[in-house]
Symmetry: D2
Subunit: 292 residues, 4 copies
């Protein structure tokens, strides 16, 4: 396919660099000179870290055609002066997403529905699981299902296979949709900034296993979920989104889990949406999220 796209195409540029005067102008001047409309712009300066973040949605004027190569080459000239890291995405922005699951299917079901209806603008080239249980669900959606069992001994080998699939798919994002396995340190690093996990508690409360049981024992009055980027440090990855619902004393662990399932689905899909719409910056152990 040629790099020359139709004129109604829209684009998203995301960039960050050390903060100094002119960081906005680098982007906005360039886009103006090239004859683009800006649809939406968000910027943020972290004054503690003295770091600048910007996200711009823009579209070509009717008389302009988009030459990606030329755009990138020219923009890099300006950007490099500011030590700017940047990415350019162009519509239709269809991300390739690999989903990893275990036996719980609520998050998978929710993601597949959003995929099927176009609510999430994604392709799903692969679903990977350490159990065979959810194959039928994958099949009904016409998605290849890889059953890769894991044991303590076979973990390196299994992860190698998983990573191979991710690579072969050209995946932009890996979603751990209740995968229930801790990734190895090596795997976590390889997937840094490209893998989102859903944890079924309001981190940092109730880290580790069986958070709904922990929450029940503590007698909490809010149950929640946390979507975060996978990091080497378990349950300490950069938080993307968190949601809650109220509960009371009458919620046993299975009731918390039932209410939590809805929250997990919403929290995870929001995080995924932000990621595929290029709204998230990974920033040390935190995120900057220009959410809609």
């Amino acid at each position: 396919m040629s790099d020359i796209k139709a004129v109604t195409q829209t684009h998203i540029i995301t960039a960050d660099c050390p903060s100094r005067p002119g960081t906005v102008d680098v982007v906005t001047r360039f886009l103006f000179k090239q004859g683009f409309y800006i649809n939406e712009i968000h910027s943020f300066v972290d004054t503690d870290e003295n770091h600048f973040f910007i996200r711009v949605e823009f579209r070509a004027d009717t008389e302009t055609e988009f030459n990606r190569e030329s755009f990138c080459e020219q923009f890099e000239q300006r950007a490099s002066e500011f030590e700017m890291q940047w990415q350019l995405a162009s519509s239709p922005y269809k991300s390739k997403v690999v989903i990893m699951v275990s036996k719980h299917d609520h998050c998978l079901n929710d993601l597949l529905y959003r995929y099927r209806t176009g609510d999430l603008n994604i392709e799903i080239p692969a679903i990977i699981s350490n159990h065979p249980d959810l194959e039928e669900l994958a099949k009904w959606h016409g998605i290849p299902y890889y059953h890769l069992p894991i044991t303590k001994e076979t973990k390196p080998e299994q992860e190698a296979k998983v990573y191979q699939i991710i690579q072969d798919c050209g995946a932009d994002l890996v979603i751990l949709a209740r995968y229930m396995q801790v990734l190895s340190s090596e795997m976590s690093k390889k997937l840094s900034g490209k893998a989102i996990n859903i944890h079924h508690s309001l981190l940092p409360g109730f880290k580790g296993a069986r958070p709904y049981f922990q929450a029940y024992d503590r007698g909490i009055k809010l149950v929640g979920a946390t979507a975060h980027y996978v990091s080497d440090d378990l349950d300490e990855g950069p938080i993307i989104s968190q949601c809650v619902e109220t509960v009371d004393h009458s919620y046993y662990p299975q009731d918390l889990a039932a209410k939590g399932r809805d929250i997990e689905c919403l929290t995870l899909s929001r995080a995924v949406r932000c990621h595929i719409e290029h709204r998230i910056f990974l920033h040390g152990n935190k995120t900057v999220v220009f959410a809609k």
Copy 2:
């Protein structure tokens, strides 16, 4: 004052005991036989602990007069068969509340407003602080203000004075409205089930000091507060109520604190309301709250 009250008076009986058949009937049969209307009834059985809780609001029929002494004597006969712990409160249910503060005045201001307008049905015989700052606010509301400074050395002595005031007032409840001091183990025990603290995080996340700074460092997307009964184990007391608001990367600790102030006020006043309306049962390290 006589024990005979006007016929439009309402009453609240709260009781708990080991679960077995007939625990509801003990209360409802008695009230029926005595000719009372039941306005509202809540019960709960903790099936893990096999324990029963009940709260009943009732009112005398128009031809009945209320003799508290006789009521209690007769009810105890039935209740004792079931090893039932119970309390009876009669309208106008005006609780005596001692408020303890430090320098932050948002929770105090909120409680005083609710007191002044009757939104919270309380008397405030004393405000106690280790600092003189909030005296003027107390004075404007016509409430005695006790300035009792505290140091590591004078802590036992100061706490003794505090406890004396609480005793002298006949306080039903002590509210630590951002008191910012850890009560001694001895004091915590004395006030067990009678002292509510507001912690400015979603416990068990961010225990201890400066939770808004901890929350900022962790990059959380929800800021919250927790009202709990004071216990010997700091920040581990039984949770009564929890509330949250959404935040994002642009919230520095002072912004979290600003948003948090509103949440602290709401969370604390809800817990206080539940307590003075006899809606809370202390149950090991948890609470049963029959919230409206």
Copy 3:
């Protein structure tokens, strides 16, 4: 099947009657005398209407067997003295639910997921639609799909067919899961208290057609949904549950609709859960909902 059930069975009795002393005792005394445990009890007196409502979950003692016929006969004797309307449900409480849809599938998909996983304790003997679009979804779940097109002229005939299916199924509940057709006055009356509709606005705001467009034009900052019992008066039926999410100026009608879809699913499933758990009383044009 015999009326004698296993001893671990639980039951729910719901009742309402004019308020007077002894209305609770009617239920609780009877249950005690029959040797039942009460798991949970909720009551409410509408003091404006002077009407009493009660819901009790109870279970047989280990040595007792449950004879439904005998229970009902004996209870009716007491209940009739109080002009009490009452119902008895016994576990496993599996309700028969007919779902009606048009072309939008988000609510249907959500209900089917909850059905499939047992999150909603229901059977779905039929899905009825005026369009053929969602047949495949029904089929995958093994549920009969009735395609009954409707025009202005064929409406009486179509509704007769629909009603026949509902009757034949022995349905306890009909869910209009974005059916997009206004039921006739006659049909509404036949289904009174047995049909739940989801309206995609916070009623009474934005009644009628295209509520997300109306909401957009008005510039609202919260988008919501309302689940209500179907009544003869369009969009005026008794409200069961309402939920919202925050939005801002950047939400065009299609964005409101997208966010609204999640809210519609949650709002509808909550209403359905309350109904099948016998937590709702229809009370004139309102509901009393003893929600968990």
Copy 4:
């Protein structure tokens, strides 16, 4: 006072104009050329109306001094080419706010607390009421209180006096904090975009008088409040913020009102904060709000 301010000063420029390429660049290029840092930037294009909105927070570089007159003169040259309407505000951004009240004091009390503690960065040169009741509260905060009774006959005269006070104060904003009087069409027009009202329902539901009673009659499950700019068309003004809380059947009108008071305070203070931080654009009958 000189137009030359200290170098640590920050500024906010807000602007809107018909959408076309270069609208962002107009602002960002100018600020860059003048040597300013941009702290935060938000823009939005209403593609239905083809209109552009932008808000930029910026600060002078350490070696630059701020000459307001010169800034405005030069910026206007560029802005006028784009038919841009714009405003410039400079720290400390202290807005002058006149508050109008009747007898309900919860919103006033909340605003005064936020004023007193600096949470809202405002001066309050006057509180105006048609009743004398809240004078003491005003006095304690050292704020002049104008008691201007109103009758059908004296309304034009009273409004003239009110407007005179607003003019004399140089007020930037008028807050109707439960003023309970409908402003005349003339007065509404004079205060267009400068007066915020709090309505105690989720508009457009329950317009007009006694919304909590209307809400009770309708049996709603969410109670809410709406802050909006005053317009000639009662309860139809542009919405700024809306908040809700869940309620159930047990809430009588007075209970809805009690819960509503907290929501009204939060909703109003959020709208006021957005206004004084120059985050709101009035846009026909809607608002664009770049909320934090």
